[in-house]
């Protein structure tokens, strides 16, 4: 069995509160030991001196676009982008074409991921058939086939009664429901946050209440049903407050946010920059502040990319016509490092927890920790590594990033997936 030894790295594992200089030995696809000064007995030794070694990152909110929009992304290209971003596990949303609302869809994803995927892929099934918010999807069968959660992300279940039934049904199969919170009537026609900037630009706004109302409704329904809900891409101060209160009351709610929501505001739309167009929309400085506080006090459990690749032709258009969504797999980690760790919003260990242990716990994945005998998914981070984000930076098929032009620091330099070095010194290692 091939052995890999990672020497002298600063090992951070939030699961067992580890933060010390350790060596990690990988045998086959498993971690066989981690302790101080392991002997040089491996065929491959990685010198991790000055680097940070963490459990492989988990991004629980990704759009891989396959099946249906392979021009935008495939399981192969999306997982390659993940790899370069230090992410060893992704959960892919169900809003593909056709959408993942049945067992054959789930099997397709898993088969494709097995054959072409470069990181672990965990499919998410839809809540309702065809994402229409009308009839329940076969959650039980899909769960057996391998989904880790259900979500109608990209759309919203407007009918509260159907949502109630969906929560009860998901609870039956112990599936968390990931919720895209958007009152579609309030947001109709909107293309950015409603406020000062939308008024000046003459664009139709999406009021923050479109998110807040649905977060409040679904927390109430979670209380009613006892189901586990997870609020996707929290963007407002009020959402953070609602989740915080609900957690205090013991309601089973968790939530996530994305780097753009703790970094950018509506002002970034500037002169109709379509790379700043996503749902929910970029909000205000006050929201950034609340989201950072929510991250710090534990209200916000996870950080995800909501990686949503779109081609240039879908973005180089009138702002109204441009697609919603931004890529994010490759900038997730450096933005956490620059905006949260460097600015002391979170300690390194707390930050890593939100992309490892926390998503693993919510989705009950046997991932997100460094444990002897478990699968060796590891990410080695160089906190000093600086890179400029430009079109040439990306490995995703698409480059629709709101961070183009920025210089970021703190990148994954080596990614190990199931005991295989799949990316080393920021270079892709083929099978």
């Amino acid at each position: 069995m091939k052995k890999i030894l990672i020497k002298n790295g600063r090992v951070i594992d939030p699961a067992n509160k580890t933060d010390e200089l350790l060596d990690i030995l990988i045998e086959g696809n498993k971690i066989s030991s981690f302790k101080k000064s392991l002997p040089f007995t491996a065929e491959k030794v990685i010198d991790a001196q000055g680097k940070i070694v963490v459990p492989g990152l988990i991004d629980m909110h990704v759009h891989l676009r396959e099946p249906g929009r392979e021009d935008e992304e495939t399981i192969a290209s999306g997982t390659k982008a993940a790899l370069m971003g230090g992410i060893t596990s992704v959960c892919c949303m169900a809003n593909t074409n056709p959408c993942i609302d049945n067992v054959s869809g789930v099997k397709f994803i898993l088969l494709k991921a097995k054959n072409e995927g470069l990181v672990n892929v965990f499919p998410i099934g839809s809540v309702t058939k065809e994402l229409l918010g009308r009839e329940l999807s076969p959650m039980g069968e899909m769960s057996k086939a391998g989904i880790v959660a259900v979500s109608d992300d990209g759309s919203s279940i407007m009918n509260a009664k159907i949502m109630r039934r969906a929560l009860e049904y998901a609870k039956t199969f112990s599936l968390p429901v990931i919720i895209h919170s958007e009152d579609l009537n309030l947001s109709q026609g909107g293309v950015m946050n409603e406020g000062k900037v939308s008024t000046v630009l003459g664009l139709i706004g999406i009021p923050r209440e479109a998110e807040n109302i649905m977060v409040a409704r679904d927390i109430a329904l979670a209380e009613l049903t006892g189901a586990k809900i997870h609020i996707a891409h929290v963007s407002t101060k009020e959402s953070v407050g609602l989740v915080k209160e609900a957690k205090k009351k013991g309601i089973k709610v968790t939530c996530e946010t994305c780097p753009h929501y703790f970094t950018l505001t509506e002002k970034s739309v500037g002169k109709y920059n379509t790379n700043m167009k996503m749902k929910p929309p970029l909000r205000t400085q006050n929201d950034i502040k609340a989201i950072r506080e929510g991250l710090a006090d534990g209200t916000i459990d996870c950080i995800v990319s909501d990686h949503a690749p779109h081609l240039d032709i879908e973005k180089d258009t009138e702002f109204n016509l441009a697609a919603f969504g931004v890529v994010g797999l490759e900038t997730l980690l450096p933005l956490i490092m620059v905006e949260l760790v460097e600015k002391k919003v979170l300690s390194l260990s707390e930050a890593i927890k939100k992309v490892t242990l926390n998503p693993a716990t919510i989705l009950k994945l046997k991932k997100g920790r460094i444990k002897v005998g478990e699968c060796a998914d590891l990410t080695i981070i160089d906190s000093q590594k600086e890179l400029r984000i430009d079109a040439g930076f990306f490995h995703s098929k698409c480059k629709n990033s709101p961070f183009i032009g920025r210089k970021l620091k703190g990148f994954a330099v080596t990614t190990i997936v199931k005991g295989r070095i799949a990316m080393e010194n920021r270079t892709f290692v083929s099978n």
Binding site: G195, T199, G202, G205, E318, L321
Partner: protein
């Protein structure tokens, strides 16, 4: 003095001096209109393309006449709105026009930001002839010109803009222009037609028309789109007219010598009564004449930038 940019996309980013320059330049062009030969050779040999994605008679005719009175060659390109979603992209269309070596592209488009996108893509001078609810700078300029001509100044005047501010590019350009030149600006409409945080543009919001007209020097009425009722923004046009229509009765709340303006086309008997539109306070037709002079000034000044 010159304009700073190759394009005129809005009044938000023009400085006061540039606005003054355009207004000052328009004066002599207007004088030209009283002559039998209204044409000057200033833009001879230049090509002006009028790219209109929305039906418009008045603005298009005004620009076309302005270009012709400057001796430029004009080309009309009308694109139906349906082809915006399907078919050739905006960027491809304007690149094609640029390849025809157009010096100016005057664009009217139903979506905010269209002129901005075009200006980034091509070297020709781009003039925004209205983009969605964003801006309609030459309308704003011709309104400033008209007010200055009639009142002798703009600074210190009180102006109330009444109507569908939410969807109005004219309102936005006027707000920027008037504020820049030192006027006090109010907007008045039912709350459904007032965009969020418009106060941040430096205007005062009124829902009561009579109060909004107190001591004003200029009443600026916006066209009310007849289909707004369907969008649940109004209950009925009848009710709108009752509360926001400018009638002779209402004029007495404003200053005795107030001007009544409208960007056209008017819905007589809806936002403005026929009596007021044709009355002695109305400068609506004057606005049309001044529009040509302003557009000549803009073309002339932008040509000088090259």
């Amino acid at each position: 003095m010159k304009l700073k940019n190759k394009d005129l996309l809005g009044l938000e980013n023009l400085d006061k001096k540039e606005v003054q320059l355009i207004l000052d330049t328009a004066g002599p062009f207007k004088d030209l209109f009283t002559r039998s030969i209204k044409k000057v050779p200033a833009l001879r040999g230049r090509t002006v393309v009028l790219l209109f994605y929305e039906p418009s008679t008045r603005t298009k005719n005004s620009f076309e006449l302005a270009a012709k009175r400057l001796s430029a060659d004009t080309l009309n390109v009308s694109v139906s709105t349906s082809s915006v979603v399907k078919g050739e992209s905006l960027i491809d269309t304007v690149k094609t026009i640029e390849a025809m070596k157009a010096d100016f592209v005057i664009i009217r488009h139903g979506m905010a930001g269209a002129a901005e996108i075009v200006s980034r893509e091509i070297k020709s001078s781009v003039i925004n002839a209205g983009d969605g609810a964003h801006e309609h700078p030459t309308q704003g300029l011709l309104d400033l010109f008209t007010i200055r001509e009639k009142k002798g100044k703009i600074k210190g005047l009180k102006v109330t803009i009444i109507g569908d501010v939410l969807h109005s590019r004219v309102a936005r350009s006027n707000i920027w222009g008037l504020k820049k030149m030192g006027a006090e600006v109010r907007v008045c409409a039912p709350a459904t037609l007032i965009p969020k945080e418009i106060e941040s543009m430096g205007v005062e919001v009124f829902y009561d028309l009579n109060k909004s007209l107190k001591d004003v020097d200029v009443i600026y009425t916006l066209r009310i789109q007849l289909e707004r009722q369907k969008g649940q923004l109004l209950s009925s046009l009848r009710e709108y007219t009752e509360f926001y229509g400018i009638t002779k009765e209402r004029l007495k709340y404003a200053k005795e010598d107030c001007l009544v303006m409208h960007p056209g086309p008017m819905n007589r008997g809806v936002e403005i009564s026929g009596e007021v539109a044709d009355g002695n306070r109305s400068v609506i037709l004057e606005q049309v004449t001044n529009g040509i002079a302003i557009r000549m000034a803009v073309l002339y000044l932008l040509a000088g930038n090259k």
